[in-house]
Homo-oligomer: 221 residues x 2
């Protein structure tokens, strides 16, 4: 059983466990609350329909990092890795108010190989200077039939949409806490979604402990 | 041998290995390039000289995360933990231009216990919703004799300065890559500092491989 998207196979082995964890959006219809900014966070596509990588994503709002995360227990990680998730600032501010994502929300998932020896560090892992994988999850309601789409970037600054037959779409739809995004792994957002009642029914069902039977235990003799 | 600051002893055991990794600044003399923003990034002190926690630090620029990092090889980690480092946006933009930190730079180091089982995750670790430690490293040249100071926050929103006798000061002074800050662990900043020639002499000395002797090996018989 694989949750890995098709495009993911072009990335190094140790980035594969991270497939499907991210989701992304940029907001255009949020002009009232908009600040003057150096860079726009609106999504940009080529004439051929490829998404342009938002180059300043490291200045967006950080949501969380994972270490060697995998949805597949059998994966052997010869190379440890971090995944970092960023969301565009307008979408983040909208989520704080509403507990869910506006149109044009954009997430970036960045995978970096871990390093253990460097400078004065004697234990644990830190993030290296290379980027092993980069994916975008974007909500663009008028463009995508399912509202959201995934794009996997290699060395290019533009990327084709990952086909909706890829497992990342069904996995996010079935297991994500809020609007196909894995808010359950974003520690500052999960309490907001919980408070505003925007957690998805499927997520609530997965996380609710089974109710114990009130019937008395059957007598064995 | 301990690199741990005095105030650090008030934090849970598993946060202690992270002491001394952070450094922080907020910029006031950068008005020319200033954007209109909801929140100020200037440092704020109480009348008694305590630093107020910058409450919106999660909207600052993310620098990196570590996992179980320690400068002490003997530490036993019963609880895995992440450390996340953020820097105020004006200082970040200044660093991109100059390779070093302006006055009023502020870093926040946030420690979060790691979780391994939750939702669909089957391996690796993700960040939990609790915060186990919070420290600020701030550059305020007119206020601190050594230009920089550390503050450790417990449950309070204000913190006393960590005394300069604490090991975090000497460790940062001796081993940090740029201006007492651990840029060697910030993957997007290390290439900038390298390119601009702002790496500290002590860091360059530590990271330069020893030159092999050109003398022929001594004959053993």
């Amino acid at each position: 059983m694989a949750f890995l998207s098709d495009s993911w196979h072009t990335l190094p082995m140790y980035t594969k466990p991270f497939a499907g964890i991210l989701a992304a959006v940029t907001l255009v219809s949020f002009s009232a609350a908009r600040q003057s900014r150096v860079a726009s966070h609106d999504p940009s596509y080529t004439a051929g329909g490829e998404l342009r990588l938002p180059e300043n994503y490291r200045e967006w709002v950080y949501l969380s990092s994972g270490f060697d995360m995998s949805y597949n227990p059998a994966i052997n990680m010869d190379q440890h890795a971090f995944d970092n998730v960023f969301v565009d600032p307008e979408a983040y501010q909208s989520f704080r108010k509403t507990g869910t994502w506006p149109d044009k929300t954009m997430f970036v998932l960045e995978v970096r190989p871990a390093e253990s020896r460097g400078s004065i560090n004697k234990a644990g892992q830190f993030q290296g200077t290379s980027v092993a994988g980069l994916e975008v999850h974007i909500k663009d309601e008028s463009r995508f039939a399912g509202k959201w789409a995934f794009f996997g970037f290699g060395d290019s600054k533009t990327a084709k949409m990952i086909p909706t037959s890829a497992a990342c779409y069904s996995c996010h739809a079935q297991h994500a806490a809020v609007d196909t995004t894995f808010v359950q792994f974003y520690p500052t957002l999960l309490p907001i979604a919980t408070g505003k009642g925007t957690l998805s029914p499927s997520y609530l069902k997965e996380t609710t402990p089974p109710v114990e039977s009130k019937d008395p235990p059957a007598k064995t003799r």
